[in-house]
């Protein structure tokens, strides 16, 4: 089936097998490999992209379902050569370790902040609940978002005793 969609502001028109997921289409069809597959079952969130304004697990969306859609992926996040505010906050707070969950995590945070500029800690946790991170233990990620939005809870330091 021939589909047309807009990804990170660019229009694409492609022939696409009907059983192919949006995740696979983005990675293999468009070469946008920033979005990852962690489980293929919608449990881990590594494949999170923003589809018509909503964070979704792209492993559970067919590419043909997204015909006509507007999609944002991690590759569209940086503004030109410089990182976006979310990316800068993650960088500052060491909110990245192996980096495999990071693209999906950033997309979930992006959707949250588009709806809610000043989320509380619990709202941040709920927004990223569907994004597994096995490395960081999430704390520095939550701190990055809280710091970015100027709310308390964004500071955490190693103590020396």
């Amino acid at each position: 089936m021939r589909i047309k969609l807009t990804v990170n502001g660019l229009a694409y028109e492609r022939e696409c097998a009907e059983h192919v997921t949006l995740l696979r289409f983005l990675r293999e069809g468009l070469g946008l490999t920033g979005t990852k597959e962690g489980c293929g079952m919608g449990e881990c969130g590594a494949c999170t992209v923003i589809l018509n304004g909503r964070a979704v697990n792209s492993c559970m969306v067919l590419a043909v379902e997204a015909d006509g859609a507007v999609i944002s992926t991690i590759e569209g996040e940086a503004q030109g050569p410089s990182l976006s505010d979310i990316q800068k906050a993650f960088e500052k707070h060491h909110a990245v370790q192996c980096g495999f969950c990071t693209p999906g995590m950033v997309m979930s945070v992006k959707e949250l902040l588009a709806d809610n500029g000043k989320p509380g800690v619990d709202e941040v946790k709920e927004a990223i609940e569907g994004n597994f991170c096995r490395c960081t233990g999430y704390v520095q990620i939550v701190e990055a978002v809280m710091d970015l939005t100027g709310r308390p809870g964004g500071k955490g330091e190693l103590e020396h005793v």
Binding site: E28, E75, V96, R134, G137, E159, H160
Partner: protein
Amino acid sequence: MFDDIKTADMTYVGKKAGRPDMVEKLTGEAVFVSDMELPGMLHAQLKKSPHARARIKRIDASKAAAMPGVRAVVTGEELDYHIGLYIVDKFILAKGEVRHYGEAVAAVAAETLEQARAAVEAIEVEYEPLPPVLHHMDALKPDAPLVHPELGTYSYIEAVFTPKPGTNIANHTKLRKGDVDKGFEASEYIVEREYSCPSVQHVPMETHVAIVQWARGDRVSIWTSAQSPFTVRNLFCHAFGLPHINVRVQIPYVGGGFGGKAGIGIEPLCAVLSRKAGGKPVKFQASREEEFSLLPCRSALTYRIKTGVSADGRIQAQHMTMYWDSGAYADYAVNVTRASGFSASGPYEIPNAWVDAYTIYTNKPYGTAYRGFGHVEFHWAVERHMELIAQAIGMDPLEFRLRNALRPGSKTMTGETILPSTGNVVKCIEEAARMIGYGSLSADELRRQEKTGWKIGKGVAALQKAPAMPSFTATAVVLKMNEDGSVLVNLALTDYGQGTYASIRQIVAERLGFPIEKVKVAFENDTDRDPYDWQTVASKGLLLSGNAAILAAEDMLRNAYAVAAEALRANPRDLGHDGDRVFVKHHPASSVAFSAMAVGLAMPNGNGIGGPIIGVGRYIAQGLSNLDKNTGEGSPAIDWTYGAHGMIVEVNEATGEYRVLKVASVYDVGRAINPDIVRGQAIGGMIQGLGTAVCEGYIYDQQGRLLNPSFTDNKIPTAKDLPMEIECAVVETPQIDGPYGARGVGEHSMISVAPALGNAIQKATGAEIMHMPMRFEDVWRALTKKEPIDNWITKSPIGSCRSAPEARNRG
């Protein structure tokens, strides 16, 4: 490599510094093997066993081989390669007999994933199911089926391991210190209990994936999501009898490992497919389900401890028996057994000790290294045991721990003497206790308890771990100066998320005296280009590679000074440098820029001197020895990192539900080279430890089929599972042979989280839990004194938490 310089007097070490891999990872530009596609690449899929143990009567792959797009089909029958880290006991594909559920019996490489999957489904396998041996305690029975009847014919590392042919015992590690019988005689109390934990999964977010091209002339290129490029190469060459020079292993960004990618995995399988497909590159990526059952997990453990204690609460003797469930293959599990054996008491002084640690084959997915290398599992037992002994003898558990903790002058179980510089476990325990207000509830906590009706309790658990590695473990770092005077760092220690490269960069910049922006640590490791490193495991990376980095920086400066001395006609002794140039100290205007010397200095008349400036640092572990196979005596530990967790938990006594209110963790890291990275390791490991404490674990049916091979029923913590408050602190007792005094802390944060939780639950409610994880139902059962459920092998006759307390007062 410790110089007594205060952190305040340093530029980078101990200070905030960014990670060098951030921009790539935050933009999606970092390329992982799962993202790679090579020209002509084929996709592999596997046929896997639905049985835990079965004889393979027949495999018919002829239909599959004829299907569209299929370029190679291989079965175990046609391969004769043995693979193994310590005991060479594994085929690439099962041959003759399958030994665990999910084991691969045949493989297909095809043009597309769809074709490969369809071909795999067309392979016919006829099995004769055999009765499996599932529980490791059952596997010890005299009539148990043998998982490896040919154990006696396998090659293994004889200096270190002791397999028992004719049994399911892959290794028996012994340790004997002092006179245990005498120690028990001198004891006022004897407490004997049994503890256990199931197998768990590492859950790297990137599953195992490799691309292998077996090109003409037996030149093999491997791209793999692995922790240790040189170990992959070495084991691969041994398995196939290839010269090392023929094999190249490249590791780009790696999406987590936690020990599960420490050794060799799916690379040989891709290799035989590629060879059969005429040299086309073949990619295989494990599905999440395959990650759980095809690839290795963490071993289950049953640990029986008998301790004799004097009237004043001093441990006199301890008898320890560890039963490690290796699963179908020995892999790292035999070395987990060895390393756990010599560390089996935790950070306490045991004057008379007796340890038997067994690695036991069963028909289950096999065990391997996992963050903590056995210490998470056995500290669960040791630190619950310390709590239960304290209770039995009527002493506060904190006081009991402090009374028996290792101190300068103490002797470890292998006979090493603890020095003031070894680290300070007493301070870690005391600080963790202080941070949670151990011993009483605050006014706020009392009010909360009143309001919710949930009981609040506080517990502490201590920990220790040394790297488990060969006594002669070595590494190297090479620094190469670029034309502009900046420096590239090459090493084969991988950074798969833990952040070592950020710290190495700080160390190099500090020692060179260069601005950190001028130092780059190259990601993407390559055995053809990087200097050797043994493995990225054991929390040894920063210590060994950090030292090598210091030596490399010194070598680079020495080489630059030699060129400068010639150019400036000065004695090298009279030279100094800054980030840009080398100058004559007493005539600072007389100088030569690093950029001018970087690739060879051209004199004004055109003569060249020097040559490209590089620095080489080689480091090998110092002073370690093999352990005596009968007594365990020797020096196994390059460094001991100590730590402790304090935990506050609230428990609903009617339901067993609980919430963690606070975790406070303290480690003696020697020197925190990068505080944010230390904190990231501390929290990340603690949450991983909490996952295994709360809910993670493999559940099998009685036929040995894994019932929860996915995230649907094998949950890991999410952001919502964070404790309400987390505090992390470090003690800094410098490690004399650590870089700037640092020692490793990568694994330690995961250790002893579970017993801290178990101790806090017990304090809150009196529930005695002997098996981890502690699911709400387990807590409820302990509270209501119901028979514990053992659904790790459902309906198994072996109880999980049934050991009877045998505390008795002999006075």
